[in-house]
Protein backbone atom coordinates (compact mmCIF):
# COMPACT_ATOMS: atom_id res chain seq x y z
CA UNK A 1 0.00 0.00 0.00
CA UNK A 2 1.20 3.55 -0.72
CA UNK A 3 0.82 6.55 1.63
CA UNK A 4 -1.49 8.09 -0.97
CA UNK A 5 -3.75 5.01 -1.01
CA UNK A 6 -3.83 4.84 2.79
CA UNK A 7 -4.67 8.53 3.08
CA UNK A 8 -7.44 8.17 0.47
CA UNK A 9 -8.96 5.27 2.44
CA UNK A 10 -8.65 7.30 5.65
CA UNK A 11 -10.33 10.25 3.95
CA UNK A 12 -13.27 8.08 2.93
CA UNK A 13 -13.58 6.61 6.44
CA UNK A 14 -13.47 10.01 8.12
CA UNK A 15 -15.91 11.54 5.62
CA UNK A 16 -18.33 8.66 6.32
CA UNK A 17 -18.08 9.22 10.07
CA UNK A 18 -18.87 12.91 9.52
CA UNK A 19 -21.88 12.10 7.35
CA UNK A 20 -23.83 11.05 10.45
CA UNK A 21 -24.64 7.43 9.62
CA UNK A 22 -27.36 5.62 11.57
CA UNK A 23 -26.81 2.53 13.73
CA UNK A 24 -26.42 0.11 10.81
CA UNK A 25 -24.10 2.46 8.95
CA UNK A 26 -22.04 3.09 12.06
CA UNK A 27 -21.70 -0.63 12.71
CA UNK A 28 -20.59 -1.24 9.12
CA UNK A 29 -18.15 1.65 9.29
CA UNK A 30 -16.59 0.27 12.47
CA UNK A 31 -16.30 -3.22 10.98
CA UNK A 32 -14.65 -1.85 7.85
CA UNK A 33 -12.21 0.27 9.85
CA UNK A 34 -11.37 -2.61 12.16
CA UNK A 35 -10.78 -4.91 9.21
CA UNK A 36 -8.48 -2.33 7.60
CA UNK A 37 -6.60 -1.90 10.87
CA UNK A 38 -6.16 -5.56 11.67
CA UNK A 39 -5.16 -6.59 8.15
CA UNK A 40 -2.78 -3.69 7.56
CA UNK A 41 -1.40 -3.14 11.06
CA UNK A 42 -2.20 -6.17 13.23
CA UNK A 43 -0.88 -5.54 16.78
CA UNK A 44 -0.15 -1.88 16.12
CA UNK A 45 -3.92 -1.29 16.05
CA UNK A 46 -3.89 -1.21 19.84
CA UNK A 47 -1.26 1.53 19.78
CA UNK A 48 -3.48 3.63 17.51
CA UNK A 49 -6.48 3.11 19.81
CA UNK A 50 -4.43 3.97 22.89
CA UNK A 51 -3.07 7.17 21.34
CA UNK A 52 -6.56 8.21 20.25
CA UNK A 53 -7.83 7.62 23.79
CA UNK A 54 -5.03 9.75 25.23
CA UNK A 55 -5.93 12.58 22.87
CA UNK A 56 -9.69 12.44 23.45
CA UNK A 57 -9.79 11.67 27.18
CA UNK A 58 -9.06 15.21 28.45
CA UNK A 59 -11.75 16.64 26.17
CA UNK A 60 -14.19 13.94 27.27
CA UNK A 61 -13.57 14.66 30.94
CA UNK A 62 -13.96 18.39 30.40
CA UNK A 63 -17.13 18.08 28.31
CA UNK A 64 -18.59 15.57 30.74
CA UNK A 65 -17.92 17.91 33.63
CA UNK A 66 -19.54 20.85 31.85
CA UNK A 67 -22.51 19.27 30.02
CA UNK A 68 -23.38 16.32 32.25
CA UNK A 69 -22.19 17.64 35.59
CA UNK A 70 -22.86 21.40 35.54
CA UNK A 71 -25.37 22.15 32.74
CA UNK A 72 -27.19 18.84 33.10
CA UNK A 73 -28.68 18.80 29.59
CA UNK A 74 -27.60 18.73 25.98
CA UNK A 75 -27.13 21.96 23.96
CA UNK A 76 -30.15 21.15 21.75
CA UNK A 77 -32.45 21.27 24.76
CA UNK A 78 -30.74 24.11 26.53
CA UNK A 79 -33.95 26.18 26.72
CA UNK A 80 -36.16 23.24 27.63
CA UNK A 81 -36.23 20.72 30.41
CA UNK A 82 -33.38 18.41 29.50
CA UNK A 83 -31.85 15.34 31.04
CA UNK A 84 -28.36 14.28 32.00
CA UNK A 85 -28.85 11.16 29.88
CA UNK A 86 -29.28 13.34 26.78
CA UNK A 87 -26.19 15.28 27.76
CA UNK A 88 -24.31 11.98 28.09
CA UNK A 89 -25.40 10.96 24.58
CA UNK A 90 -24.30 14.34 23.24
CA UNK A 91 -20.85 14.14 24.88
CA UNK A 92 -20.40 10.49 23.85
CA UNK A 93 -21.33 11.35 20.25
CA UNK A 94 -18.78 14.12 19.94
CA UNK A 95 -15.99 12.28 21.75
CA UNK A 96 -16.70 9.04 19.88
CA UNK A 97 -16.45 10.77 16.53
CA UNK A 98 -13.24 12.56 17.50
CA UNK A 99 -11.82 9.27 18.82
CA UNK A 100 -12.60 7.62 15.49
CA UNK A 101 -10.94 10.40 13.46
CA UNK A 102 -7.78 10.43 15.58
CA UNK A 103 -7.59 6.63 15.53
CA UNK A 104 -7.88 6.51 11.72
CA UNK A 105 -5.14 9.13 11.31
CA UNK A 106 -2.95 7.19 13.73
CA UNK A 107 -3.58 3.99 11.75
CA UNK A 108 -2.25 5.64 8.61
CA UNK A 109 0.87 6.98 10.35
CA UNK A 110 1.56 3.65 12.04
CA UNK A 111 1.08 1.81 8.74
CA UNK A 112 4.05 3.79 7.44
CA UNK A 113 6.07 3.91 10.64
CA UNK A 114 9.10 2.66 8.73
CA UNK A 115 9.20 5.94 6.79
CA UNK A 116 10.64 9.09 8.32
CA UNK A 117 8.22 12.05 8.37
CA UNK A 118 10.05 13.66 5.45
CA UNK A 119 9.89 10.45 3.40
CA UNK A 120 6.17 10.13 4.17
CA UNK A 121 5.38 13.67 3.08
CA UNK A 122 7.68 13.33 0.07
CA UNK A 123 5.74 10.24 -1.04
CA UNK A 124 2.43 12.09 -1.15
CA UNK A 125 0.99 13.00 -4.56
CA UNK A 126 0.60 16.67 -3.69
CA UNK A 127 2.07 19.90 -5.08
CA UNK A 128 5.49 20.75 -3.61
CA UNK A 129 4.08 23.91 -2.00
CA UNK A 130 1.50 21.88 -0.06
CA UNK A 131 4.13 19.36 0.98
CA UNK A 132 6.39 22.19 2.13
CA UNK A 133 3.52 23.56 4.21
CA UNK A 134 3.06 20.11 5.78
CA UNK A 135 6.76 19.84 6.66
CA UNK A 136 6.87 23.36 8.09
CA UNK A 137 3.74 22.58 10.15
CA UNK A 138 5.35 19.39 11.44
CA UNK A 139 8.49 21.36 12.25
CA UNK A 140 6.40 23.80 14.27
CA UNK A 141 5.19 20.88 16.37
CA UNK A 142 8.82 19.88 16.92
CA UNK A 143 9.65 23.48 17.78
CA UNK A 144 6.88 23.56 20.36
CA UNK A 145 8.12 20.31 21.89
CA UNK A 146 11.61 21.77 22.02
CA UNK A 147 10.25 24.94 23.62
CA UNK A 148 8.33 22.90 26.21
CA UNK A 149 11.53 21.06 27.09
CA UNK A 150 13.41 24.35 27.46
CA UNK A 151 10.72 26.01 29.55
CA UNK A 152 10.37 22.91 31.71
CA UNK A 153 14.12 22.90 32.37
CA UNK A 154 14.09 26.60 33.23
CA UNK A 155 11.15 26.47 35.60
CA UNK A 156 12.25 23.30 37.41
CA UNK A 157 15.79 24.61 37.86
CA UNK A 158 14.30 27.88 39.16
CA UNK A 159 12.31 25.93 41.75
CA UNK A 160 8.96 27.02 40.27
CA UNK A 161 7.84 23.59 39.02
CA UNK A 162 8.63 20.00 39.91
CA UNK A 163 9.20 17.17 37.49
CA UNK A 164 6.67 14.94 39.25
CA UNK A 165 2.99 15.98 39.42
CA UNK A 166 2.40 18.53 42.16
CA UNK A 167 0.08 21.32 43.23
CA UNK A 168 2.91 23.70 42.49
CA UNK A 169 2.74 22.64 38.82
CA UNK A 170 -1.00 23.35 38.68
CA UNK A 171 -0.65 26.75 40.30
CA UNK A 172 2.21 27.83 38.05
CA UNK A 173 1.05 26.18 34.83
CA UNK A 174 0.46 29.60 33.23
CA UNK A 175 4.12 30.44 33.77
CA UNK A 176 5.06 27.33 31.85
CA UNK A 177 2.76 28.39 29.02
CA UNK A 178 4.31 31.86 28.94
CA UNK A 179 7.84 30.45 29.01
CA UNK A 180 6.99 27.98 26.23
CA UNK A 181 5.72 30.72 23.92
CA UNK A 182 8.68 32.98 24.62
CA UNK A 183 11.01 30.08 23.89
CA UNK A 184 9.16 29.05 20.73
CA UNK A 185 9.24 32.57 19.34
CA UNK A 186 12.97 32.84 20.09
CA UNK A 187 13.73 29.54 18.39
CA UNK A 188 11.72 30.40 15.28
CA UNK A 189 13.21 33.90 15.05
CA UNK A 190 16.73 32.50 15.47
CA UNK A 191 16.17 30.24 12.49
CA UNK A 192 14.40 32.74 10.28
CA UNK A 193 16.82 35.58 10.94
CA UNK A 194 20.13 33.76 10.36
CA UNK A 195 20.06 30.14 9.31
CA UNK A 196 17.35 30.05 6.65
CA UNK A 197 18.17 33.26 4.71
CA UNK A 198 21.91 32.52 4.61
CA UNK A 199 21.43 28.93 3.45
CA UNK A 200 18.20 29.35 1.47
CA UNK A 201 17.14 26.27 3.42
CA UNK A 202 13.51 26.28 2.29
CA UNK A 203 14.54 26.02 -1.36
CA UNK A 204 16.62 23.01 -0.41
CA UNK A 205 13.57 21.50 1.28
CA UNK A 206 11.53 21.98 -1.92
CA UNK A 207 14.18 20.09 -3.79
CA UNK A 208 14.07 17.23 -1.27
CA UNK A 209 10.29 17.03 -1.51
CA UNK A 210 10.23 17.25 -5.30
CA UNK A 211 12.46 14.18 -5.43
CA UNK A 212 10.06 12.10 -3.34
CA UNK A 213 8.80 10.13 -6.37
CA UNK A 214 5.15 9.76 -5.26
CA UNK A 215 3.43 6.50 -6.19
CA UNK A 216 -0.30 6.04 -6.52
CA UNK A 217 -2.62 3.07 -6.77
CA UNK A 218 -0.09 0.33 -6.27
CA UNK A 219 -0.37 -2.97 -4.41
CA UNK A 220 -3.07 -3.02 -1.75
CA UNK A 221 -4.33 0.42 -2.83
CA UNK A 222 -6.13 -1.44 -5.63
CA UNK A 223 -7.96 -3.59 -3.09
CA UNK A 224 -8.71 -1.15 -0.27
CA UNK A 225 -9.84 1.85 -2.31
CA UNK A 226 -12.62 -0.01 -4.20
CA UNK A 227 -13.65 -1.70 -0.93
CA UNK A 228 -13.81 1.65 0.87
CA UNK A 229 -15.77 3.32 -1.94
CA UNK A 230 -18.17 0.36 -2.24
CA UNK A 231 -18.65 0.26 1.51
CA UNK A 232 -19.33 4.00 1.48
CA UNK A 233 -22.32 3.50 -0.78
CA UNK A 234 -23.62 0.69 1.44
CA UNK A 235 -23.08 2.68 4.64
CA UNK A 236 -24.82 5.75 3.25
CA UNK A 237 -27.81 3.67 2.17
CA UNK A 238 -27.92 1.20 5.07
CA UNK A 239 -30.16 3.25 7.31
CA UNK A 240 -32.48 4.33 4.48
CA UNK A 241 -33.58 0.77 3.81
CA UNK A 242 -37.14 0.36 5.14
CA UNK A 243 -37.23 -1.40 8.49
CA UNK A 244 -33.95 -0.03 9.67
CA UNK A 245 -34.05 1.19 13.25
Amino acid sequence: MTPNGALAVAFVLIALSMSGPGPRGTALLLVLTLAFAIIELRGATLIALRRAAVVVLPLGVFMGLVWIGIVGRAPAEIDATGTRAAALVYVAGICGRLFFIVAVIQLVFLRFAQLTPLQFVGALALPVGVKRMLVVTLSLIETLRHAIDRAHTALIAAGTLTRSPSWRNLIHAWRLIQAVWLSAVTIVLGRMRDKWPVENTLALLDRTLAGGNPKWLLGDDRIWLPIALGAAVVILLADRIPGAS
Partner: protein, 396 residues
Protein backbone atom coordinates in the same frame (compact mmCIF):
# COMPACT_ATOMS: atom_id res chain seq x y z
CA UNK B 1 42.11 28.81 -3.78
CA UNK B 2 39.51 28.74 -1.03
CA UNK B 3 39.10 31.68 1.33
CA UNK B 4 39.54 31.18 5.06
CA UNK B 5 38.35 34.08 7.18
CA UNK B 6 38.84 34.21 10.95
CA UNK B 7 36.93 37.05 12.57
CA UNK B 8 38.27 37.76 16.03
CA UNK B 9 37.94 40.39 18.72
CA UNK B 10 36.20 40.87 22.05
CA UNK B 11 32.47 40.46 22.64
CA UNK B 12 30.32 43.32 21.32
CA UNK B 13 32.90 44.29 18.71
CA UNK B 14 30.46 43.37 15.95
CA UNK B 15 31.95 40.00 14.96
CA UNK B 16 28.62 38.31 14.22
CA UNK B 17 27.48 41.38 12.25
CA UNK B 18 30.73 41.32 10.27
CA UNK B 19 30.22 37.62 9.55
CA UNK B 20 26.69 38.23 8.27
CA UNK B 21 27.88 41.18 6.15
CA UNK B 22 30.51 38.92 4.61
CA UNK B 23 27.89 36.29 3.77
CA UNK B 24 25.40 38.75 2.33
CA UNK B 25 27.67 40.61 -0.05
CA UNK B 26 27.65 37.58 -2.33
CA UNK B 27 31.42 37.65 -2.99
CA UNK B 28 32.19 35.03 -0.35
CA UNK B 29 29.79 32.50 -1.88
CA UNK B 30 26.38 32.48 -3.56
CA UNK B 31 24.99 30.36 -0.71
CA UNK B 32 26.68 29.48 2.54
CA UNK B 33 26.02 26.76 5.09
CA UNK B 34 25.61 28.39 8.49
CA UNK B 35 26.13 27.05 12.00
CA UNK B 36 25.09 29.49 14.70
CA UNK B 37 26.01 29.47 18.35
CA UNK B 38 23.07 27.34 19.55
CA UNK B 39 20.84 24.60 18.20
CA UNK B 40 18.15 26.84 16.70
CA UNK B 41 20.76 28.20 14.33
CA UNK B 42 22.84 25.04 13.94
CA UNK B 43 20.25 22.64 12.52
CA UNK B 44 17.57 23.36 9.91
CA UNK B 45 14.67 22.91 12.34
CA UNK B 46 12.71 21.30 9.48
CA UNK B 47 13.31 17.68 10.35
CA UNK B 48 11.94 15.33 12.99
CA UNK B 49 14.72 12.79 12.66
CA UNK B 50 18.46 12.83 12.09
CA UNK B 51 17.95 10.89 8.86
CA UNK B 52 15.64 13.64 7.56
CA UNK B 53 18.11 16.37 8.53
CA UNK B 54 20.80 14.64 6.49
CA UNK B 55 18.37 14.02 3.61
CA UNK B 56 17.50 17.71 3.31
CA UNK B 57 21.13 18.70 2.89
CA UNK B 58 21.86 15.91 0.43
CA UNK B 59 19.05 17.03 -1.86
CA UNK B 60 21.26 19.07 -4.16
CA UNK B 61 24.34 17.29 -5.47
CA UNK B 62 27.69 18.83 -4.62
CA UNK B 63 29.44 20.58 -7.48
CA UNK B 64 32.83 19.40 -6.34
CA UNK B 65 34.02 16.43 -4.38
CA UNK B 66 34.56 16.95 -0.68
CA UNK B 67 35.61 14.52 2.03
CA UNK B 68 32.69 13.43 4.20
CA UNK B 69 32.98 14.52 7.82
CA UNK B 70 31.59 11.66 9.88
CA UNK B 71 32.56 12.05 13.54
CA UNK B 72 29.68 9.95 14.90
CA UNK B 73 27.67 7.00 13.57
CA UNK B 74 24.72 9.10 12.43
CA UNK B 75 23.35 6.27 10.28
CA UNK B 76 22.66 4.23 13.42
CA UNK B 77 21.02 7.26 15.05
CA UNK B 78 18.81 7.99 12.04
CA UNK B 79 15.44 7.67 13.84
CA UNK B 80 16.41 9.91 16.75
CA UNK B 81 15.12 13.45 16.98
CA UNK B 82 17.93 15.95 16.38
CA UNK B 83 16.90 17.88 19.49
CA UNK B 84 17.72 14.88 21.70
CA UNK B 85 21.38 15.17 20.73
CA UNK B 86 23.66 17.12 23.04
CA UNK B 87 24.73 20.62 21.99
CA UNK B 88 28.10 19.38 20.75
CA UNK B 89 26.56 16.46 18.87
CA UNK B 90 24.21 18.86 17.09
CA UNK B 91 27.20 20.87 15.88
CA UNK B 92 28.83 17.65 14.66
CA UNK B 93 25.62 16.70 12.84
CA UNK B 94 25.54 20.12 11.18
CA UNK B 95 29.16 19.69 10.04
CA UNK B 96 28.30 16.24 8.67
CA UNK B 97 25.36 17.72 6.74
CA UNK B 98 27.62 20.43 5.30
CA UNK B 99 30.12 17.82 4.16
CA UNK B 100 27.37 16.09 2.14
CA UNK B 101 25.77 19.26 0.79
CA UNK B 102 26.24 21.39 -2.32
CA UNK B 103 27.34 24.49 -0.38
CA UNK B 104 30.70 25.87 -1.42
CA UNK B 105 31.17 27.77 1.81
CA UNK B 106 30.52 27.41 5.51
CA UNK B 107 30.23 30.03 8.27
CA UNK B 108 30.47 29.09 11.93
CA UNK B 109 29.70 31.50 14.75
CA UNK B 110 31.27 30.24 18.01
CA UNK B 111 29.70 26.78 17.63
CA UNK B 112 32.98 24.84 17.65
CA UNK B 113 33.56 25.93 21.25
CA UNK B 114 30.96 23.34 22.30
CA UNK B 115 33.03 20.43 21.00
CA UNK B 116 35.22 18.18 23.10
CA UNK B 117 38.97 18.38 22.31
CA UNK B 118 39.00 15.34 20.02
CA UNK B 119 36.02 16.46 17.93
CA UNK B 120 37.11 20.11 17.98
CA UNK B 121 40.54 19.23 16.60
CA UNK B 122 38.93 16.97 14.00
CA UNK B 123 36.56 19.76 12.95
CA UNK B 124 39.30 22.40 12.78
CA UNK B 125 41.48 20.01 10.81
CA UNK B 126 38.60 19.33 8.39
CA UNK B 127 38.06 23.04 7.83
CA UNK B 128 41.76 23.98 7.67
CA UNK B 129 43.29 25.60 4.58
CA UNK B 130 44.86 23.00 2.34
CA UNK B 131 45.06 22.12 -1.31
CA UNK B 132 41.84 20.12 -1.29
CA UNK B 133 39.90 22.51 0.92
CA UNK B 134 36.26 21.84 1.80
CA UNK B 135 35.33 25.28 0.45
CA UNK B 136 35.37 28.85 1.75
CA UNK B 137 35.29 29.01 5.52
CA UNK B 138 34.36 31.94 7.78
CA UNK B 139 34.84 31.38 11.47
CA UNK B 140 34.30 33.13 14.79
CA UNK B 141 35.96 31.31 17.65
CA UNK B 142 37.00 32.76 20.98
CA UNK B 143 39.59 30.08 21.58
CA UNK B 144 41.54 30.49 18.34
CA UNK B 145 43.99 33.34 18.83
CA UNK B 146 45.06 35.08 15.62
CA UNK B 147 47.23 34.98 13.61
CA UNK B 148 46.50 31.54 12.25
CA UNK B 149 48.51 30.13 9.38
CA UNK B 150 46.59 30.17 6.11
CA UNK B 151 43.69 32.17 7.54
CA UNK B 152 42.88 35.77 6.73
CA UNK B 153 42.45 37.17 10.22
CA UNK B 154 40.46 40.32 10.85
CA UNK B 155 40.67 41.66 14.38
CA UNK B 156 37.75 43.80 15.48
CA UNK B 157 37.85 46.34 18.26
CA UNK B 158 35.03 47.02 20.70
CA UNK B 159 33.84 50.59 20.15
CA UNK B 160 31.31 50.60 22.99
CA UNK B 161 31.41 50.01 26.70
CA UNK B 162 27.84 48.67 26.69
CA UNK B 163 27.50 45.37 28.53
CA UNK B 164 30.80 45.92 30.35
CA UNK B 165 31.14 42.95 32.63
CA UNK B 166 33.08 42.01 35.74
CA UNK B 167 31.83 38.72 37.25
CA UNK B 168 34.27 39.14 40.14
CA UNK B 169 32.12 41.92 41.59
CA UNK B 170 29.29 39.45 42.16
CA UNK B 171 31.28 37.33 44.56
CA UNK B 172 33.48 40.04 46.08
CA UNK B 173 31.28 40.64 49.11
CA UNK B 174 29.79 37.18 49.57
CA UNK B 175 30.03 35.75 53.06
CA UNK B 176 31.59 32.31 53.51
CA UNK B 177 29.18 29.40 53.86
CA UNK B 178 29.53 25.65 54.07
CA UNK B 179 27.55 23.94 51.32
CA UNK B 180 26.10 20.61 52.44
CA UNK B 181 27.48 17.46 50.85
CA UNK B 182 25.55 15.91 47.97
CA UNK B 183 25.77 12.11 47.93
CA UNK B 184 24.57 9.99 45.04
CA UNK B 185 24.12 6.26 45.44
CA UNK B 186 23.26 3.61 42.85
CA UNK B 187 22.14 6.19 40.30
CA UNK B 188 20.72 4.71 37.14
CA UNK B 189 19.37 6.74 34.28
CA UNK B 190 18.30 6.13 30.71
CA UNK B 191 16.30 8.15 28.23
CA UNK B 192 13.03 6.90 26.80
CA UNK B 193 14.80 5.43 23.78
CA UNK B 194 16.57 3.07 26.20
CA UNK B 195 19.91 4.76 25.70
CA UNK B 196 21.47 4.05 29.09
CA UNK B 197 23.47 7.04 30.34
CA UNK B 198 24.37 6.11 33.93
CA UNK B 199 24.46 2.75 35.65
CA UNK B 200 24.97 2.27 39.41
CA UNK B 201 26.79 5.55 39.89
CA UNK B 202 28.04 6.37 43.39
CA UNK B 203 29.34 9.87 43.95
CA UNK B 204 30.05 12.24 46.82
CA UNK B 205 30.28 15.96 46.18
CA UNK B 206 31.64 18.08 49.02
CA UNK B 207 30.94 21.76 49.54
CA UNK B 208 33.87 24.15 49.25
CA UNK B 209 35.15 22.26 46.25
CA UNK B 210 34.88 22.87 42.50
CA UNK B 211 34.31 19.85 40.29
CA UNK B 212 34.84 19.80 36.55
CA UNK B 213 32.47 17.41 34.79
CA UNK B 214 34.47 16.07 31.87
CA UNK B 215 33.70 13.68 29.04
CA UNK B 216 33.19 13.53 25.29
CA UNK B 217 30.16 15.08 23.56
CA UNK B 218 27.08 13.03 24.38
CA UNK B 219 28.59 11.36 27.47
CA UNK B 220 25.87 12.77 29.74
CA UNK B 221 27.44 15.85 31.33
CA UNK B 222 24.34 18.01 31.01
CA UNK B 223 22.21 15.02 31.96
CA UNK B 224 24.10 14.72 35.26
CA UNK B 225 23.42 18.38 36.06
CA UNK B 226 19.75 17.97 35.15
CA UNK B 227 19.45 14.95 37.46
CA UNK B 228 20.95 16.85 40.38
CA UNK B 229 18.65 19.82 39.80
CA UNK B 230 15.53 17.64 39.40
CA UNK B 231 14.80 18.33 35.74
CA UNK B 232 15.23 14.59 35.16
CA UNK B 233 14.33 11.76 37.52
CA UNK B 234 16.66 8.77 37.90
CA UNK B 235 15.33 5.30 37.11
CA UNK B 236 16.95 4.08 40.32
CA UNK B 237 19.19 5.37 43.08
CA UNK B 238 19.08 7.85 45.90
CA UNK B 239 20.35 11.35 46.58
CA UNK B 240 21.09 12.92 49.92
CA UNK B 241 21.72 16.56 50.64
CA UNK B 242 23.54 17.24 53.89
CA UNK B 243 22.76 13.66 54.91
CA UNK B 244 18.99 14.07 54.39
CA UNK B 245 17.15 12.27 51.59
CA UNK B 246 16.76 14.64 48.65
CA UNK B 247 14.42 14.11 45.69
CA UNK B 248 14.45 17.36 43.72
CA UNK B 249 12.39 15.84 40.88
CA UNK B 250 9.58 15.34 43.41
CA UNK B 251 10.08 18.03 46.06
CA UNK B 252 11.49 20.69 43.76
CA UNK B 253 14.97 22.11 43.52
CA UNK B 254 15.96 24.01 46.64
CA UNK B 255 19.73 23.74 46.69
CA UNK B 256 21.31 24.24 43.28
CA UNK B 257 21.58 27.32 41.07
CA UNK B 258 22.07 26.24 37.47
CA UNK B 259 23.46 28.28 34.58
CA UNK B 260 22.49 26.36 31.45
CA UNK B 261 24.64 25.92 28.34
CA UNK B 262 22.13 27.82 26.22
CA UNK B 263 21.06 30.78 28.38
CA UNK B 264 17.59 30.65 26.87
CA UNK B 265 17.01 27.32 28.65
CA UNK B 266 17.13 29.24 31.90
CA UNK B 267 14.68 32.14 31.86
CA UNK B 268 11.40 31.88 33.68
CA UNK B 269 10.11 35.35 32.83
CA UNK B 270 10.11 37.85 29.99
CA UNK B 271 12.15 40.48 31.85
CA UNK B 272 14.99 40.10 34.30
CA UNK B 273 12.70 41.50 37.01
CA UNK B 274 10.03 38.84 36.27
CA UNK B 275 12.63 36.12 36.28
CA UNK B 276 14.04 37.16 39.65
CA UNK B 277 10.60 37.67 41.20
CA UNK B 278 9.70 34.09 40.34
CA UNK B 279 12.92 32.73 41.78
CA UNK B 280 12.35 34.83 44.90
CA UNK B 281 8.87 33.38 45.27
CA UNK B 282 10.03 29.79 44.65
CA UNK B 283 12.96 29.93 47.09
CA UNK B 284 11.35 32.15 49.74
CA UNK B 285 11.55 29.40 52.36
CA UNK B 286 15.13 28.41 51.60
CA UNK B 287 16.97 31.66 50.90
CA UNK B 288 17.49 34.71 53.08
CA UNK B 289 15.42 37.54 51.52
CA UNK B 290 18.42 39.85 51.55
CA UNK B 291 20.12 37.69 48.93
CA UNK B 292 17.26 38.21 46.52
CA UNK B 293 16.31 41.85 47.08
CA UNK B 294 15.76 43.92 43.95
CA UNK B 295 18.43 46.37 45.07
CA UNK B 296 21.11 43.71 45.41
CA UNK B 297 20.10 41.89 42.24
CA UNK B 298 20.10 45.15 40.26
CA UNK B 299 23.66 45.83 41.45
CA UNK B 300 24.79 42.33 40.52
CA UNK B 301 23.11 42.50 37.11
CA UNK B 302 24.84 45.83 36.47
CA UNK B 303 28.16 44.11 37.19
CA UNK B 304 27.29 41.73 34.36
CA UNK B 305 26.49 44.60 32.02
CA UNK B 306 22.70 44.72 32.28
CA UNK B 307 21.70 48.01 33.82
CA UNK B 308 17.98 47.53 34.44
CA UNK B 309 15.76 44.83 35.89
CA UNK B 310 13.22 45.84 33.22
CA UNK B 311 15.55 44.55 30.50
CA UNK B 312 13.73 42.13 28.20
CA UNK B 313 15.81 38.96 28.38
CA UNK B 314 15.11 37.77 24.86
CA UNK B 315 15.98 41.17 23.36
CA UNK B 316 19.50 41.23 24.81
CA UNK B 317 22.40 40.17 22.57
CA UNK B 318 23.27 36.48 22.94
CA UNK B 319 26.63 37.15 24.63
CA UNK B 320 24.88 39.43 27.14
CA UNK B 321 22.24 36.76 27.84
CA UNK B 322 25.00 34.23 28.41
CA UNK B 323 26.66 36.56 30.93
CA UNK B 324 23.37 37.21 32.65
CA UNK B 325 22.87 33.46 33.03
CA UNK B 326 25.71 33.52 35.60
CA UNK B 327 23.82 35.98 37.80
CA UNK B 328 21.76 33.37 39.65
CA UNK B 329 24.59 30.97 40.58
CA UNK B 330 27.07 33.77 41.34
CA UNK B 331 24.56 35.60 43.54
CA UNK B 332 25.26 33.09 46.30
CA UNK B 333 21.56 32.57 46.95
CA UNK B 334 21.89 28.78 46.93
CA UNK B 335 24.71 26.69 48.40
CA UNK B 336 25.50 24.88 45.16
CA UNK B 337 26.25 26.47 41.80
CA UNK B 338 26.39 24.61 38.52
CA UNK B 339 27.66 26.04 35.24
CA UNK B 340 27.14 24.24 31.93
CA UNK B 341 29.72 25.44 29.39
CA UNK B 342 29.83 28.91 30.95
CA UNK B 343 32.68 30.23 28.79
CA UNK B 344 31.16 29.47 25.37
CA UNK B 345 30.93 32.61 23.24
CA UNK B 346 32.93 34.73 25.70
CA UNK B 347 36.15 36.59 24.95
CA UNK B 348 39.41 35.87 26.74
CA UNK B 349 39.18 38.66 29.33
CA UNK B 350 35.67 37.67 30.39
CA UNK B 351 36.64 34.01 30.60
CA UNK B 352 39.53 34.86 32.92
CA UNK B 353 37.26 37.00 35.14
CA UNK B 354 34.57 34.34 35.23
CA UNK B 355 37.05 31.60 36.15
CA UNK B 356 38.30 33.76 39.03
CA UNK B 357 34.73 34.34 40.25
CA UNK B 358 33.92 30.62 40.15
CA UNK B 359 37.16 29.79 41.96
CA UNK B 360 36.31 32.31 44.68
CA UNK B 361 32.83 30.84 45.06
CA UNK B 362 34.39 27.46 45.89
CA UNK B 363 36.93 29.09 48.22
CA UNK B 364 34.05 30.65 50.15
CA UNK B 365 32.62 27.19 50.82
CA UNK B 366 30.02 26.92 48.07
CA UNK B 367 29.82 23.72 46.09
CA UNK B 368 30.57 24.17 42.40
CA UNK B 369 30.13 21.92 39.39
CA UNK B 370 31.12 23.13 35.97
CA UNK B 371 31.12 21.58 32.53
CA UNK B 372 33.62 22.85 30.01
CA UNK B 373 35.71 21.69 27.08
CA UNK B 374 37.94 24.73 27.51
CA UNK B 375 41.08 23.43 29.26
CA UNK B 376 42.58 26.91 29.67
CA UNK B 377 39.43 28.09 31.42
CA UNK B 378 39.30 25.02 33.67
CA UNK B 379 42.98 25.36 34.57
CA UNK B 380 42.23 28.73 36.19
CA UNK B 381 39.84 27.09 38.67
CA UNK B 382 41.33 24.72 41.28
CA UNK B 383 39.13 21.67 40.79
CA UNK B 384 38.70 17.95 40.90
CA UNK B 385 37.63 16.11 37.76
CA UNK B 386 34.47 14.01 37.49
CA UNK B 387 35.20 11.87 34.45
CA UNK B 388 32.15 10.57 32.60
CA UNK B 389 32.45 7.47 30.48
CA UNK B 390 31.26 3.89 30.24
CA UNK B 391 28.02 4.87 32.05
CA UNK B 392 30.01 5.80 35.15
CA UNK B 393 31.15 8.98 36.88
CA UNK B 394 34.60 8.66 38.35
CA UNK B 395 36.12 11.28 40.64
CA UNK B 396 39.79 11.80 39.83
Amino acid sequence: MARHELISGPNFSGRSGALMALLRDGKFAAETFYIGPYSEAALSGLSSTIADEIEIYRAKPARFGRAVFLPLGFAALGRREPQTLSGGEQVLLALHCFSLSHYEAIAIDSALEQLDPVHRNAALDYLAPREEAVGNVALIDNRLPPPLAGWNCSERVADTDAFDCDPGRLVADLAPRRAPTIAVSGLHFEYGDQKSIFRAVDLTLDGGQAYRVAGPNGAGKTTLLKLLVGVLAPKAGTLTFGGEPYRPWRQGNRAIALATQNPDHQWCGATLGDDLARRRSAFARHVHPEYLSDTRMAQLAAALGVLSLDAHLYELPLAARKRLSWLWPLSGALPWAMFDEPSVGQDMQTRIQLAAAIARLATLGYGVLFVTHDDDFAARIPHRVLALGDKQVKAA
